[in-house]
Amino acid sequence: MRPGTLGRLALAGTRTDAVRVVLTALSAALAALAGLAALTVLAIPTPPATDDNEVRWSLQYATALLREPGLRGGTAFALLLLALPVLALAGQCARLGAPARDRRLAALRLAGATPGQVTRLAALETGVASLLGTVGGLVVFLVAHELLDRPGADGRLALPTDVLPSPVALAATVLGLPAVAAVATALLLRRVVTTPFGVVRRARRDRPPRPWFALLVPAGVGSFAGYFPLLHWLERHEVQALLPYLPILVAVGGLAALVGTVLAAGWFSYAAGRLLHRLAQGPAALLAARRLAADPWAGSRTFAALLAAVLFGGGAAAFRAHFQARYAAELAEARTFGDVTSAGDTFYLDTIGLVDLAVAAAVTIAAGGLLVALVEGIVARRRAYAALVAQGVPRGVLGRSVAWQALAPAVPAVLLALTVGLLLGRFLSGPVRTGGSGYVCEAAAAICADPAARGPYLRLVEAPERYVMPGVPLEQLALVGAGAVAAVALTVAVGLLFLQASTTVEELRAT
């Protein structure tokens, strides 16, 4: 098949195919933007050390996250993490309108296309759509880069608009993402056989999902719980050689807890379906329960992204509680030592505010993916739904069934993700130290302000040193959890609009 023909056939299709292409392109654009932002942060050059700037800070930036070389890696990592829900959204978009696409591919097989050509067509569609998206993302990035390059009143930049990633890095992002997307599609299709008779056989997952992945969660939390005791033990016994490996333990543990929570999403759906079936009396809950148990993986990719975002939100809540307690302790300490004007250092609290913002963005993107999954499920089953409505099943029952289907696994899974995130955050941030010793100046303010004169008036004050574990940030956790559940509920509400359209009598004639 000529490349031109292959390209034309790859981009042919119905309106649903067009929507899929647009959503795939949009996801690719968002992922490209996140990647380009991360690369830009990494491209900030570290200035040479000078007398005025021994710590080699990039002083042209307003925020410490960009100014301090040690924080830039974390900032870039956080931006890359934002790409995760975007990639999940892209994965979900690939399934949109899949039955119609499968029929189109089968028709091509009937016309003489080989299985390999059909796979290449599907991969090319994803690749071309992703390329359109990444090029669009690059254009948006460059335009924003120019428009936002305005120093503030203090002459500092809010964003790194004075640097650009290297051309190689730009090209790798714009071309690499579509290539990865196309290869991923081809790999996903390797278990799909498109026959000329319009039948797409998938290697079905006959066994119900197992909860083994969930075991990674306690393993990960355990590694975090053991961090401080192990650190103290190693320090007490002066085992210096092992100290550098402790961060690896934390990283692996965190990853295990995250992967465990995310991969257990399918099992969550299945277990929620089984439980709901046992308890359900009404037809809506029964329909939802059976659907969840029969196809627990439907939408679990984006559901997993939502859980990952919630887990980060739980962790951020724990860190916020820690920083708030620390801030309060620092202020109290300052007051103890006579410094009534100290406003404390709010840097970490501000940073956590940024993490919260990123979590909100991730939840929003994941909710978009959930919506795609929900609509895809409704559209794929529109004939069955239309038949039920024709037989007198009220649309409200079907709507409630869709709502049950989305919320029954979401609520317990969100609670688990919040708990895991909170535990990880608490174990990692540790307790807050209060008390300590310092000098109090017992003289007039003018004398105390003079370093040469205040010496005789200084008195050593010692407050007992204590380690206090911050309280559980219930309010913050409730906000994250309710936000995630509300996002799911909102996707259900929007999805129900499609249910209305998919249960018209015309669907009874659809093949």
């Binding site: 009396q281 329909l287 059976r290 148990a293 029969a294 069955a384 024709a390 099943v393």
Partner: protein, 267 residues
């Protein structure tokens, strides 16, 4: 007693007319076959009679009450309680077991799951598929699926059954079994049946045949109809008689409008 009446029913899809003023009566316990070529408006007529579609003009009455002006919710309840609808395929929910599928209308009416299952299993037994109660629709043959769908249609003991090409996806033998059971159970319960089909052999199960052409009742008729095999509705019918001969030999049924013939005999 007249169970169902259509008076001058008109329906169009955009600029394309589907029904051009259909008038039709269905008596209690009567089995009426609506036949005609593809695209003649058979399914649209069935959907209008069942309250699935609202006609653009004309009226539909059920037991003397005009139902085409009812709200969607009221018509939906009517279909759930007094009507039964049977399609060609795709009507069983694939994730539910057969018993749950059959019990679904009962659950919608407020029956508990256990009681619903008991009634559903009894209906499955009447149709000879009780052993499939715990199977999923995907595990059944087309004929078995359709018998289970028939059980679901009958479980609420409807007064009228609307069957849209109920054997269209089945082989001859399976189709015969489903039709035989549908007609037998309808006769037992004095349930009226509106049966849409394009197969003359299937129409032969009906008491009367209404032939549609281009959205109107075909006054010329399509074939020779002989009086129905009294009470059974299971008569045989041969095909191939010339249309003109059919018209000449047709015995007008009492009160049936032009284009409607008593069916069920041999031709």
């Amino acid at each position: 007693m007249t169970e169902l009446q259509a008076r001058g029913v008109v329906k169009a899809y955009g600029p394309t007319p589907a029904l051009r003023g259909i008038t039709l009566d269905v008596a209690e316990g009567e089995i009426v076959a609506v036949t005609g070529p593809s695209g003649c408006g058979k399914s649209t007529l069935l959907h209008c009679l069942a309250g699935i579609l609202r006609p653009d003009a004309g009226q539909v009455f059920w037991r003397g009450e005009r139902i085409d002006t009812w709200s969607e919710a009221a018509r939906s309840k009517l279909r759930r309680t007094e009507f039964g609808v049977l399609f060609q395929f795709g009507q069983l929910v694939p994730e539910l077991t057969v018993a749950e599928n059959v019990a679904l209308p009962l659950l919608l009416a407020g029956t508990g799951r256990r009681a619903g299952r008991t009634v559903a299993t009894a209906w499955l037994a009447r149709l000879g598929v009780a052993d499939l109660a715990d199977a999923r629709p995907g595990e059944l043959s087309g004929g078995q699926q359709q018998r289970c769908a028939l059980a679901r249609t009958l479980v609420t003991e409807p007064r009228v059954i609307f069957a849209d090409e109920p054997t269209g996806a089945l082989d001859t033998l399976a189709g015969e079994q489903v039709l035989t059971q549908l007609v037998r159970l309808a006769r037992e319960q004095r349930t009226s049946v509106v049966l849409v089909t394009h197969e003359p052999r299937i129409a032969g199960y009906a008491d009367r045949e209404v032939v549609l052409r281009d959205g109107a009742v075909d006054g010329a008729g399509l074939g020779l109809d002989l009086p129905a095999a009294a009470g059974s509705g299971l008569g045989l019918r041969a095909t191939g008689a010339p249309a003109g001969e059919a018209l000449a030999n047709a015995a007008p049924a009492g009160g049936a409008p032009a284009g409607e013939r008593p069916a069920g005999g041999a031709r």
